[in-house]
Symmetry: C2
Subunit: 404 residues, 2 copies
């Protein structure tokens, strides 16, 4: 047992342990349709010009600007280009071609006159044979014409490496014809809960058993932090049983997290199995969540949280959420200063993380400092972070809160 | 064509159209393991007391408080209760039983002395036969004993209806043995893009075609807003083709959204098919995104956005994101006031939504007011919302920005 660490010291230790996971992320290629929320592994460059071709910005008539310099002027309508028209037209000087937004501008035309500045004086919208359009407003060369490549040229970067792909990035990629992208592989995280007393929810419990809350909570926390659960299992306090599930987890994962089995009791399976394999158990000067263990086993970082469900969730929030989110390209959850709505007491020498709720008048604890109240934790929306030296903090003081 | 509407008026209109979708959400039952991010459809009450049984809050010794009132005192160790021990023990007065955190407190014991306040004076940790423990600190009745039901009693609410289920809620539900929950069904939203010029990304394009950016963008926006895509399809400008895919969408969906085909051109398939079925096309005094259409067809609300990819994305952000998120129990994305880092010009009479990026010195547009720059939109992280009457806004002014 090393001497107690501060929360900062242990957080730095965990960050060092996990740093290799972010340094060289694995890359996988996914379809654009599956890429929302993933992180671009490389700069993605356009292989085409955008727009792909010179096209009209308005519904109207394609003309030569020189032919509409003096208005009103009547021009013969010699053609019609709907969007998607696949044969390039050529404009005869002194005439007009009807054009729709996004349709290719005919060769020889250099301006679009929007339909609201025109009137058909011969012919009908649905029959342009022999039609004549009166142009009522002059347009300069280039007006309402989008030149090929004016949005983006071939080779330009569409999305930078490290960008978390949202709808607007997918739209730009799709517009450039990209249909699959190289993204960072999600970290594979194994979740192992330990304790002979654990029973799976949904089954009956015998006397002395408790339902396993940590497996589902850690799995959800891992996934909401942008990683994936490679294996989820619950082990009894039998060292051989735990060693077996640990080895399966190490083989399948970039990171293994465990809950339980690391305090000072007589049946601490995680301690028993991990210490001989090079892990260290530490006391961190915090409440809840004091006992913590870490190690690198078979090249895989292993992080061990205490078994109490609130301690486990607080440990994850304090030590693992930020590095996992960073590895996944997600922004950190906000840590901010909020007014304390009621006075709180703390235990000097231990940094306290109280479960709190933020309301109009500030933040207040949802329950006492007990670390055991899993139902109270569900009602919290923040952790109230009280410094190590604090003993009593008055209502109205500003405190640091971590978003859950 | 009705007269132009303000953005507020159209937003209210859309909200009225969609209100029935939130009023009586469908309910489905999902496994707890699949419930992260879903919204509880009802209050979920515990069917058990938590803790399930009277248990120890510490590793240590279960004693009668009366026997340790004067310390130090040596007590015979008459038993050992690991966590998960399934046979209730009974404490003989004047003796101690070793106990682990979470293990059932023996009948007759009323306090736990933590292991650090004790020392085995006879026997060993791994062999308690004939052991004697010296107790060095007195403990009051009830200390470190968690009474059955002290966290939560049977019938108490674990999670309120309307709660979006995060890890801490799943932990509380699991701890109470709940293995499946009734959640609001996700809204089924069909995404239809229209335009004969549209080609699917990943294939070649012929002259005059453009890649469909709206299908993937709208699908991603729908999913990140907590709904699900019931059908995604692209239709040509042929009315019969569009009518067919529309009917399939109406049959399978709670809401249908379309892009394209609603402006004043000659080939406006959405107008052509929807107007006879009771939809209305509106001009909204905004840029981009002016033309908008809405209706209820076969009992299903239909929302039609203009086809330009930036107009489509801005329309979604302004009109559809908030009601979809509300229906899914997600909080609205923040709308806030930010300092303008550079002067901008606007078009009086139209509310402008410029694509902007927020930096240290404030927010600045990523590009001009053109609505066509899908690659520029990808670089934005907010929409800068300029009021209808604005013409020129100076650097340093506060403007409203919508988070993308």
């Amino acid at each position: 047992m090393t001497p107690p660490r501060s929360v900062e010291e242990h957080a730095e230790h965990v960050n060092r342990l996990l740093a290799p996971l972010s340094a060289e992320p694995d890359v996988e290629t996914v379809l654009l349709a599956d890429a929302a929320g993933r992180v671009a592994a490389t700069d993605i460059r356009s292989e085409v010009d955008l727009p792909l071709f010179r096209n009209s910005q308005m519904d109207g008539y394609a003309v030569r600007a020189a032919d509409v310099a003096r208005v009103p002027v009547a021009l013969e309508v010699t053609g019609d280009v709907p969007a998607g028209h696949e044969v390039p037209l050529t404009l005869t000087p002194g005439t007009a071609i009807r054009i729709m937004t996004g349709a290719p501008v005919p060769t020889g035309a250099d301006a679009i006159v929007p339909v609201e500045d025109t009137e058909l004086v011969l012919g009908r919208d649905d029959d342009l044979a022999g039609a004549v359009v009166e142009i009522r407003r002059a347009r300069r060369r280039g007006e309402f014409v989008r030149e090929r490549g004016s949005d983006l040229e071939r080779g330009d970067v569409l999305v930078r490496a490290g960008t978390r792909l949202a709808a607007r990035h997918l739209a730009a990629l799709a517009a450039a014809g990209v249909s699959s992208v190289a993204v960072r592989a999600r970290l594979r995280v194994a979740v192992l809960t330990t304790g002979s007393e654990l029973a799976a929810p949904g089954r009956g419990v015998r006397f002395g058993q408790v339902f396993d809350a940590n497996g589902i909570a850690l799995a959800a926390l891992v996934e909401e932090s942008g990683a994936m659960v490679s294996l989820r299992a619950s082990s009894s306090d039998d060292p051989a049983a735990f060693a077996k599930v640990l080895d399966a987890a190490l083989a399948a994962s970039d990171l293994v997290i465990t809950s339980g089995g690391i305090s000072k009791g007589a049946y601490e399976v995680v301690r028993e199995v991990l210490l001989p394999r090079g892990a260290e158990v530490t006391t961190v000067a915090m409440q809840p969540g004091g006992p913590q263990a870490t190690g690198v086993i078979d090249g895989v970082p292993v992080l061990c949280f205490p078994g109490n469900p609130v301690s486990t969730q607080v440990s994850f929030a304090v030590f693992l959420r930020a590095p996992l989110r960073a590895a996944a390209g997600l922004p950190p959850l906000p840590v901010r200063r909020v007014r304390l709505a009621e006075a709180v007491r703390s235990v000097p020498g231990k940094r306290q993380f109280l479960r709190g709720r933020v309301a109009e008048d500030g933040v207040a604890p949802v329950s006492g400092p007990s670390s055991h109240l899993v139902a109270a934790m569900a009602n919290a929306d923040v952790l109230i972070d009280l410094p190590e030296e604090a003993e009593a903090i008055e209502a109205g003081s500003d405190v640091t809160v971590w978003t859950l």
